[in-house]
């Protein structure tokens, strides 16, 4: 399925992406087994960038491995750990390695991770990274210096459709569109009615929206996310549904819920696709796809 992600977006097909996390350490066997399992079942695989501010193998190398294994990588790039020199340098490197899709993120704050005393960089934020991608594509760097060879990327960004208040979030969404975002992978959505309201607004823009699907693995996880993860709201009925799962059947219930949501999003044309985040449970992504009828 090694078609470029830009072509997939243009095709009008229902787009499916999933997420793979690099290891903490040099043993890449598990990451490779996840890539191998998923690369032909989804259109592209995101490689996270020191996700949750936890130090790991770089997303750039992870994407290179996806590419080598015949998959389509989406390079996640945050501004938390690199200044504008390092970010641009990594973008040039990605391009040379044939990685042509980048997701531009501000990044979780460093205090949420496992190196709390480190210096948070934040030289560029999500919007400015998006713009840097476009500036590089024009043949110069952020300092205005000409490039010898120009990288071209399909650039994406994120949005939180269930943020409260939503208005400032939407204003930033628009700025990201103007800055050249071609697709959005959203924060996890669970309340499709709220998501539909967001889509009614987002549809006015010429961008593809992939609804974020996070796999619920227990009622406790759902409650935890409600209390601790910004922008994620799991409605009571889904928490109860997870709680109603027989002992040992919570994961299966989560797969069923994720599959059901994806099916509904596709059948009702609510979004252009989905982005599945099965944090730590990548091996069940095929089951989710099957439950969704994909």
């Amino acid at each position: 399925m090694a078609v470029s992600f830009k072509d997939v977006l243009r095709s009008g097909e229902f787009v499916v992406t999933a997420e793979v996390g690099p290891p903490k350490g040099t043993d890449i066997s598990e990451m490779k087994s996840h890539i191998s399992l998923l690369k032909d079942k989804v259109h592209a695989l995101n490689m996270t960038d020191n996700q949750s501010s936890v130090m790991r193998l770089s997303s750039l190398v992870g994407c290179h491995i996806i590419k080598e294994m015949g998959g389509v990588p989406i390079l996640q790039m945050t501004g938390r750990d690199r200044n504008r020199l390092a970010l641009q340098s990594d973008l040039l490197s990605a391009s040379v390695l044939g990685i042509d899709t980048v997701l531009c993120l501000t990044g979780d704050h460093i205090t949420l991770g496992d190196h709390k005393e480190a210096k948070p960089v934040h030289d560029l934020e999500s919007l400015q990274i998006l713009k840097a991608v476009r500036v590089l594509a024009s043949g110069v760097d952020l300092g205005g210096n000409p490039l010898k060879g120009t990288p071209q990327f399909c650039a994406g960004a994120v949005v939180t459709p269930e943020a409260d208040p939503i208005e400032p979030q939407l204003m930033k969404f628009e700025k990201k569109v103007w800055a050249g975002a071609e697709f959005f992978q959203t924060q996890a959505v669970f309340d499709l009615e709220t998501f539909k309201r967001f889509m009614a607004y987002a549809e006015k823009f010429d961008v593809k929206i992939l609804a974020g699907i996070v796999l619920l693995t227990s009622a406790r996880m759902a409650t935890y996310m409600n209390q601790h993860v910004a922008g994620i709201y799991v409605p009571d009925n889904l928490v109860s549904e997870m709680a109603s799962a027989p002992k040992g059947g919570a994961l299966q219930k989560g797969i069923e819920i994720a599959g059901r949501m994806i099916r509904k999003i596709k059948e009702e044309g609510i979004a252009h696709g989905v982005h599945i985040m099965a944090i730590g449970k990548e091996t069940v992504v095929p089951d989710i796809l099957q439950a969704a009828g994909l």
């Binding site: 990044g107 948070p120 030289d123 934020e125 943020a163 409260d164 979030q169």
Partner: protein, 221 residues
């Protein structure tokens, strides 16, 4: 103003081991207002040290005074001659004051008595909040008088990140999300379009350390 907090007593006391005569020099400007290094705090620290050393059976002379402003040469010159016979001077000023003291009293041994924390204001008695990062390029006129460089944990200039949650910050649920505050303030001002503006990456050149500024009138002197 500059906000500082006094160093832990044990850290100061340990650093004074081996001294016979110690002078504690306070600063009656910023660190006095934030109750860290003014006349009162100098008196308190001096008494604590005297009692503690006495209890340990150590004979260490502790003297004290407080100047108007330790970061200002003319105030410091009033006190310098009195410091010469001491083994060590504990400066209760901010880092700038400590350094002017060290420069002017070289080679006298210096110990900072406070940790300098931030430029802040006093929303209520006894509380200080950081409100300025001295970034050298003020955009408060665009953001409703709320500084995103300081109040946003990530210093974002172009609107909220995904970590904002019901007006709070992902870093700490007790901290307000700067961009939610800015949004509500600009809404009241009828200036919401300011958020739609494109703020380019910050120019860190204007903040190149150590920064220096010379008033026009004094240039060429």
């Amino acid at each position: 103003m500059i906000v500082a907090e006094r160093k832990p007593f044990d850290e100061i006391k340990t650093a004074l081991a081996g001294c016979r005569k110690v002078f504690i020099l306070g600063c009656d400007t910023c660190v006095s207002v934030c109750m860290a290094g003014g006349k009162k705090e100098v008196g308190l620290l001096a008494s604590q040290l005297r009692m503690s050393f006495k209890k340990d059976g150590k004979d260490i002379q502790i003297d004290e005074d407080t100047v108007e402003r330790q970061c200002n040469r003319e105030y410091m010159e009033l006190v310098l001659s009195r410091l010469q016979d001491y083994d060590l001077v504990v400066s209760m000023a901010c880092g700038a004051g400590v350094q002017l003291l060290a420069d002017l009293s070289e080679p006298l041994q210096i110990l900072p008595g406070v940790n300098t924390r931030f430029i802040g204001m006093t929303p209520q008695d006894g509380t200080w909040e950081e409100r300025c990062r001295a970034c050298g390029n003020c955009i408060l006129g665009e953001t409703g008088g709320i500084c995103p460089v300081t109040v946003c944990a990530k210093g974002i200039l172009n609107g909220p990140c995904g970590g904002t949650d019901h007006g709070k910050c992902e870093v700490d649920k007790d901290k307000d999300c700067a961009w939610t505050l800015i949004y509500h303030r600009l809404e009241k001002m009828g200036k919401l379009d300011n958020i739609r503006k494109d703020f380019p990456p910050r120019n860190h050149l204007v903040q190149c350390h150590p920064a220096k500024q010379v008033h026009e009138v004094y240039k060429g002197e």
